[in-house]
């Protein structure tokens, strides 16, 4: 093994951490250089740890990693952006957790995915931190990430007949991976209806730059439709459930209750 492989520098977003052993933590990182990888921070839970504050979940960080026997070991860590603002709001934490969980579950360690994933991830965290329309930010990330990882849903032609999709309410099949025309969808088991507006926004996000996507003026109803549809789609592709959507629903529910109760 060359010297270069034994110790190297990465820039990464911390997707999550888990406790390990006496006082260590294992980080799940998405790095600019090598895609996803896991690394251990020794003594991270000790109050005197100089690295702990730099490697909290959702932090953009520069790391020096050394190859250990079982793990990469973090030897230096310096946060570039802790995304403190998003950490101070429960709903933003829920969105950030969803972003992180999606990527963590869709990728393998050192799977070397498309190198456009990393910039998309970093920009998405920055947008959440600056509170730029979080719902559009999340939907945009979702559709672009699926595209880059090869899970692009088919939104242009009917996945049963290959006919071009025209501007009207359609059906969506998660198992066939896209839109089904009304003619073929209405009797097909496992399809769900998709409104013409929801479909329009998904197609728009799929082909647009983020700046353009931002001008979409989406009603709360359509947002809900998009969220349910996309979560259904990703869960099917992953063949397992996600944890963060339940958290998000819960904190939203509390927010609603707080709004409705008189002070």
């Amino acid at each position: 093994m060359s010297q270069r492989d034994r110790s190297f520098r990465v820039e990464a977003i911390v997707l999550k951490h888990t406790e390990f052993g006496e006082a260590d933590r294992i980080l799940s990182l998405y790095t600019r250089e090598r895609g996803k990888l896991r690394a251990m921070v020794k003594g991270a839970r000790k109050v005197r740890s100089r690295k702990a504050g730099h490697v909290e979940p959702f932090t953009l960080v520069t790391l020096q990693l050394a190859k250990g026997r079982n793990w990469y070991i973090v030897t230096q860590a310096e946060a570039k952006n802790t995304h403190q603002a998003l950490r101070e709001d429960l709903e933003s934490i829920g969105y950030a957790a969803y972003i992180a969980e999606l990527l963590d579950k869709f990728t393998y360690d050192e799977g070397h995915e498309h190198n456009a994933i990393y910039p998309l991830l970093v920009k998405t965290f920055d947008r959440l931190n600056r509170d730029i329309d979080p719902q559009i930010t999340v939907r945009y990330y979702e559709i672009q990430m699926l595209d880059l990882l090869g899970f692009r849903p088919e939104l242009q032609t009917c996945v049963v007949s290959d006919d071009e999709i025209i501007a009207q309410d359609q059906f969506f099949s998660v198992s066939l991976g896209g839109v089904v025309s009304p003619e073929h969808g209405k009797n097909l088991p496992g399809t769900t209806p998709i409104s013409v507006q929801a479909l329009k926004y998904l197609r728009f996000f799929q082909r647009s730059r983020f700046q353009d996507a931002l001008i979409a003026n989406i009603s709360p109803e359509i947002h809900r439709e998009l969220e349910v549809l996309m979560q259904h789609y990703v869960t099917y592709q992953l063949e397992r459930g996600l944890n963060s959507p339940a958290f998000l629903r819960r904190v939203r529910h509390q927010k609603e209750n707080a709004k409705n109760s008189p002070d």
């Binding site: 390990f20 839970r45 109050v47 702990a52 490697v55 958290f247 904190v251």
Partner: protein, 201 residues
């Protein structure tokens, strides 16, 4: 070489402990095999009485002996009944007790919110906390979850519910460095964090 079944069973048992890999598990097992009779006997006695003779306090959910409904802290006549310190786990109670600087009561949440791991408010003793302070003489709640993303999120989630019950809510963790565990804080750091607790807001 084939490992005899009783030996393999203990190795497997050790391997399921947090932070113990198969190598450490084998080393511990063979140490016990070769070590003095006393050690193995003492350990097996301690293990078998662990679950049997311990339970959880019905009020604060700290660990206590199985024959008690309420723990020693909850029933101690000199503890301040107007202040509760909310912590993630029993080990945090031990850390705070060691400082000798806190004389109120505790509430053990039994974990911390984790959006990615799927730990939800219903998995923690949050509802029990709210019910506990309803109609009680509690005046202040110190939220002493760890100063981590999860600990902060948990404090943020609980705070409005407590405030609507009319108690003062303070946060301990502000003086502690981000990412650390209360359990590992030294006594002076904890005392300073206690003294310097701040209103959340």
């Amino acid at each position: 070489m084939l490992i005899p079944e009783p030996v393999q069973k203990l190795i497997d048992g050790f391997s399921r402990l947090p932070g113990v890999g198969p190598k450490t598990a084998s080393r511990l097992t063979f140490y016990l095999l070769r070590g003095s009779e006393d050690l193995a006997d003492d350990l097996s006695e301690a293990l078998s009485s662990l679950k049997e003779n311990t339970g959880f306090c019905e009020q604060c959910f700290n660990i206590t002996t199985a024959d008690r409904k309420l723990c020693e802290i909850c029933t101690h006549p000199e503890r301040d009944q107007e202040i509760i310190c909310v912590v993630e786990e029993p080990l945090d109670v031990i850390a705070l007790e060691r400082t000798g600087g806190f004389h109120g009561l505790y509430h053990v949440l039994d974990g911390v919110l984790s959006p990615i791991e799927g730990v939800s408010p219903d998995d923690l003793k949050i509802k029990e906390l709210i019910d506990r302070i309803k109609g009680s003489e509690i005046k202040e709640i110190i939220l002493a979850t760890n100063p981590s993303m999860e600990g902060d999120a948990t404090a943020m989630f609980i705070r409005p519910q407590l405030e609507s019950e009319g108690v003062q809510v303070t946060r301990l963790a502000r003086g502690l460095p981000v990412g650390g565990d209360l359990e590992y804080a030294d006594q002076n750091t904890l005392l300073r964090a206690l003294a310097g607790r701040q209103n959340m807001g």
